[in-house]
Amino acid sequence: MTSAGLSVQGLSAHWDDLHVLEGLSFTVEEGQFTSIVGPSGCGKSSTFAALTGEIPLESGNVSVAGRPVVEHGREFAWMPQSGALLPWRSALDNATLGLELSGTPRAQARERALPFLEGFGLEGFEDSWPSELSGGMAQRVALLRTVLMDRPVLLLDEPFGALDALTRRAMQDWLERLWEKHRWTVVLITHDVREAVFLSDRVFVYSDRPAAVAATVEIDIPRPRRLELIQTPQFARMESEILTHLSLPSSGSK
């Protein structure tokens, strides 16, 4: 039943002189939620840059749904770390940007977006400017833009990283419920180990730069998952396992 949604084999890449990825390999099953955690600056965002074609690959193979990726980008719906909402577009027009740029007429793109507005908590804010939205709402707009592109794999770069702790918890809970409904193939980058455990089926722990997968942790906690789960011993065990992997390679600081 499970097939390889995304398979990455032996990826190496540089930003100019900086060696960021070295023999990076991982597999994400179709309809699986995976997370990448790792030290700051180790090359997590660079992984997405390599997948979307921002940095040229020196070696390695990427395939989506069993087919090798030739023209990068078409398979991936990428959400940048900053969200990158356009200030001159209303919330709704930001959400439909991806569709419009892929050639869907504006009216049709809006029609596609409408059924999602409620689930994304954006009803009544369609016409707001991004500067008028709360941080959480702005991230939901960016997420909706990503989802609407209807591409096989979602690449989410720290979507909740800039939010306050309370809003972040609420967003994690919201995303979990939403994902259970849609079962997208997701790769999520996060600094928040708890977030990774709570949302994922599988967590990749990166090594220091140049990045490779230092450890893979399977999260076999059944769904639906709710926030109370965080209190359970099973959850704490997974969390500490990841933290151990994270602190292994370098100093030993947490």
Binding site: A49, L85, L86, L101, W129, A142
Partner: protein, 255 residues
């Protein structure tokens, strides 16, 4: 409107000081006419003043429009091909070093007393600030947004129209406002050097017959025209950039 109050107070204070100085100091009206005298003289000659304001206004807006349109086209080329930037920018900068006082009579000798020399001078002084404002505006494009466009597969034109151009708009309007204040003065310069009609030649004639009051009246009209055009760009900006006024002029995307 309320923001105009301090400026108005200062303006009236300056006029009042000038008026007092002339009245109390018994300065002759042919040397330094008082504001009230200038106003009266201007009003008495209003027909002639108006007939000379129109050609100046026409030349200014026409030259300005021409310069803006060509600045936009050139900015497109510069943004598309780095080669164009390297070729054109030095020439543009040199164009700004030409002393317009000296240039104006020459342009009039070459192109006569009609509209052409005025258009050329206006275009010369406004083309540069507008082009630079656009090109620098494009370069402030959010790199994340640019990468997003690439990841979606957007082409050059779509990226320009939907990302780079909107990004440049605030900078463009700043350039536009700077340019419009130069534009009226440039027209007056061209007319001063020789013209059939216009505020510049009006000043020239008035000066030659020692009518300082009429010179100053024409100066006042010139300032008023500049100010009006300046405010017009503000009004247009509000229409074109509504997302900025929505948050009181703050220019922030999201975090």
């Amino acid at each position: 409107m309320r923001r105009a109050i301090p400026a108005t107070i200062l303006f009236l204070l300056l006029l009042g000081t000038w008026q007092l100085y002339c009245t109390l100091g018994h300065i002759g009206n042919d040397v330094l006419p008082s504001p009230s005298h200038v106003a009266r003289a201007g009003w008495d000659d209003r027909g002639d003043l108006w007939a000379n304001t129109l050609p100046t206004l026409l030349a200014t807006t026409l030259g300005f429009t021409l310069a803006t349109v060509s600045a936009f086209l050139l900015s497109l080329l510069i943004d598309r091909w780095n080669f164009a930037r390297q070729a054109v920018m030095p020439a543009l900068i040199v164009s700004q070093t030409l002393p317009i006082v000296v240039l104006a009579p020459l342009v009039v000798i070459w192109f006569g007393f009609g509209l052409t020399p005025k258009l050329i001078l206006v275009a010369l002084v406004t083309f540069f600030p507008v082009t630079v404002a656009l090109v620098e505006g494009y370069s402030t494009t959010d790199p994340d947004a640019a990468a997003l466009f690439r990841s979606i597969g957007a082409g050059w034109w779509a990226t320009f129209r939907k990302l780079r151009l909107p990004t440049a708009l605030p900078s463009f309007f700043t350039g536009l406002r700077i340019a419009i204040t130069y534009a009226v003065v440039a027209t007056v310069f061209a007319e001063y050097a020789g013209s059939e009609k216009g505020l510049g030649i009006y000043m020239q004639v008035a000066k030659n017959s020692f009518r300082t009051d009429l010179v100053l009246a024409a100066v006042a009209v010139t300032s008023a025209v500049t100010l009006a055009l300046f405010l017009l760009t503000h009004l247009i900006e509000r229409r074109v950039i509504p997302w900025r006024t929505a948050t009181d002029g703050r220019w922030e995307g999201t975090k």
